[in-house]
């Protein structure tokens, strides 16, 4: 017997959808009729040949022929396009902050390439991953060749608000988190809303600027 999952996929497994894995609620009353899904061929004939070569909306890699899945990131081209990313975070090294904090035994990096992170999740963690622990890798991972040793493994988190902007919460970091020139650390309990251009300061010299695109 085939059932239909809440997203409309036909599934032979009555408990979890064969396609998207979603839990299928126990059927009340007679089973729903099977919805016939458009065959892949049908979906493809709708798209013009030019559309086949459209870049992947997630990773921008070129689409290979009429493949359903992106070769680079596995994105499903038949799935609805993801929400366009409207905010980004840019991590850089700030000498003024370093001088103000004057941490012992840490030198200011000679060169630090800015790192850009598109903000596209509802929860974006900031931290510094340890090798071999990529299971808990934060979305904004400041581990690398040049590292700020003052950043905790999971340091802070950006939480998306209803209007699409982000609010900041400390995750019990060792050295705390501040915003702009306010010396008071942000709270771990209540989130601090961020405006376009706000600078998050963590560690000895790291500044993360959030920007609306």
């Amino acid at each position: 017997m085939t059932v239909v999952c809440p997203e409309g996929h036909a599934s032979a497994d009555p408990e979890y959808c064969d396609q998207c894995g979603l839990r299928i609620p126990a059927a009340a009353g007679p089973p729903q009729p099977t919805q016939v899904l458009p065959a892949l061929e049908d979906a493809d004939t709708d798209a013009s040949p030019a559309a086949w070569r459209q870049p992947c909306p997630v990773c921008q890699a070129g689409r290979s022929g009429e493949d359903r899945y992106c070769e680079a990131c596995g994105h499903d081209f038949l799935a609805p396009p993801p929400v366009a990313c409207a905010w980004e975070a840019v991590a850089g090294a700030d000498r003024a902050q370093f001088i103000r904090r004057a941490p012992d035994g840490i030198t200011f990096p000679a060169a630090f390439a800015e790192k850009r992170f598109p903000l596209d999740g509802t929860r974006v963690r900031i931290g510094r991953s340890r090798a071999g622990q990529d299971d808990q890798r934060p979305e904004i991972d400041l581990a690398g060749a040049v590292e700020d040793p003052g950043i905790s493994r999971l340091h802070a988190i950006l939480e998306r608000r209803e209007d699409g902007s982000y609010a900041l919460r400390d995750l019990g970091s060792t050295n705390g988190t501040t915003v702009n020139d306010d010396p008071a650390p942000v709270s771990a309990e209540t989130a601090t809303p961020l405006a376009d251009g706000d600078r998050i300061r963590i560690g000895a010299w790291t500044t993360i600027t959030v920007r609306r695109l």
Binding site: Y16, Q19, C20, G21, Y69, T122, R123, G132
Partner: protein, 424 residues
């Protein structure tokens, strides 16, 4: 058919926006009954007879005795053979391009041949494995197992040649590797054992060889099922981040999968006797809204496309942080064991490179992880390389004089894990 069970340990609750699902799957074979002792096994003993096996003089003698012990362990009806390896492989028993069937007569014959083994020549392990593969092919349908014993480096072959042989042998037979003395390369045997789903260990002293061979043979003779795969189904848009055997040893299978269809991948697990293994899976799924539940992965044990057992890994999104921030004990334990193995590797590497600070830090961390998780075996091995001041903080001092065999024992056994202890 053997009986298999799969149990899943996980915290299925994810925070809003969370997409990473971790679980430990415990697979037990032969639970609730002795697996049928099937005689249709095949066993090949591969012994290094390169010139170095004569030095010290006891080595080839101990190898001969160990082979005799191993031959005595071969059950009636099992196909078996003996290969002597130098810069080429020679089938010394039964010879003639096939395998012998074990009975009192063939076992005696094979032991007489083993007594005459002389050491002379070079080392090309790939050629030994190729011959073993060809012999196993003459006995189709059997659970195939080999033991490779060496004392030196693979000098007469390039790493690429060995890799090509391993690729050709993968999935055809299992191979346990043993290094005797201190002149062999741990990384080389690890490569072979890892590709052929076997174990690797050091036999520091030739006199220990016979006992080790007996235990390997007893394990091999208990194997009843081969070519069992761990089959993982994941939903649309999900990505399998990690498939790792975490007990009894760590073996990363993430890149070893064979895609069955667009949502199903099979990972090799080799042969099974009556035993239990743990696997750590990490699946990234598209985040759903709070209150929704989905299947993140369906894990099954499959033999010849027949599903032996099955477990479900689920994801439920919640805004209750009490639920979502909890890390499953099993996942936390094995994440620690994997870090332990990695710290030992990095520590030993730094020690060889002369980087005392990194070596002290990494091995100190390893001591702390081993002590916290009750991995006493690994802790004892670490003690041969460092002096431990305080296991709780991981304060250690590197030892100045470390025997090669001790360092190699730690290196080869660093992936041995302990099971998660009972709940506090």
């Amino acid at each position: 058919m053997s009986s298999f069970t799969a149990e899943v340990y996980q915290n299925e609750y994810l925070p809003a926006g969370g997409s990473e699902v971790n679980a430990i799957v415990t697979v037990t074979s032969g639970a609730g009954g002795e697996p049928a002792k099937r005689p249709d096994a095949a066993e090949i003993l591969i012994v290094d007879t390169s010139g170095s096996m004569e030095v010290p003089r006891g080595k080839i003698k101990a190898a001969r005795e160990a082979i005799a012990v191993a031959i005595d362990c071969v059950r009636d009806g099992v196909a078996f053979g003996l290969i002597a390896g130098t810069d080429k492989a020679r089938e010394v028993y039964p010879s003639g391009g096939a395998m012998a069937i074990a009975d009192d007569h063939t076992r005696q014959e094979a032991k007489r041949v083993a007594e005459k083994l002389r050491a002379q020549g070079g080392t090309a392990m790939g050629s030994w494995l190729t011959l073993a593969g060809a012999l196993f092919d003459t006995a189709p349908g059997r659970v195939c197992h080999a033991i490779l014993l060496t004392d030196g480096e693979n000098l007469h072959e390039t790493p690429e040649q060995l890799d090509a042989v391993l690729a050709a042998c993968e999935g055809r037979f299992q191979c346990d590797c043993r290094g005797v003395g201190a002149d062999w390369q741990v990384s080389e045997l690890k490569r072979i054992a890892s590709a052929l789903l076997g174990t690797v260990d050091i036999i520091p002293d030739p006199t220990g060889m016979a006992a080790d061979f007996r235990s390997m043979m007893e394990t091999a003779m208990g194997k009843a099922t081969q070519n069992v795969s761990l089959r993982v189904w994941t939903p649309q848009d999900a990505r399998t981040g990690l498939v790792r055997q975490v007990a009894p040893t760590i073996e990363d299978l993430t890149d070893r999968g064979t895609q069955v269809d667009e949502r199903v991948t099979d990972y090799p697990t080799g042969t099974w006797g009556r035993e239990s293994r743990d696997y750590h899976l990490c699946v990234h799924v598209p985040a759903r809204s709070v209150g929704e539940e989905m299947l993140a992965a369906r894990v099954s044990l499959v033999e010849n496309n027949e599903v032996l057992s099955r477990g479900l890994i689920r994801a439920i999104w919640t805004d209750d942080e009490q639920l979502s921030t909890h890390i499953s004990r099993e996942v936390a334990h094995y994440t620690g064991q994997a870090e332990l193995a990695q710290c030992i590797q990095e520590g030993l590497w730094a020690r060889k490179a002369g980087d005392q600070a990194t070596a002290t830090f990494k091995l100190g961390r390893a001591v702390r992880l081993a002590s916290e998780s009750g991995n006493d075996g690994t802790l004892r091995l670490l003690q041969t390389v460092v002096d431990i001041d305080d296991p709780e903080t991981g304060t250690v001092r590197l030892r100045r004089e470390v025997a090669d065999v001790d360092e190699m024992a730690l290196d080869s056994r660093s992936t041995k894990t302990v099971r998660v202890g009972p709940a506090p």
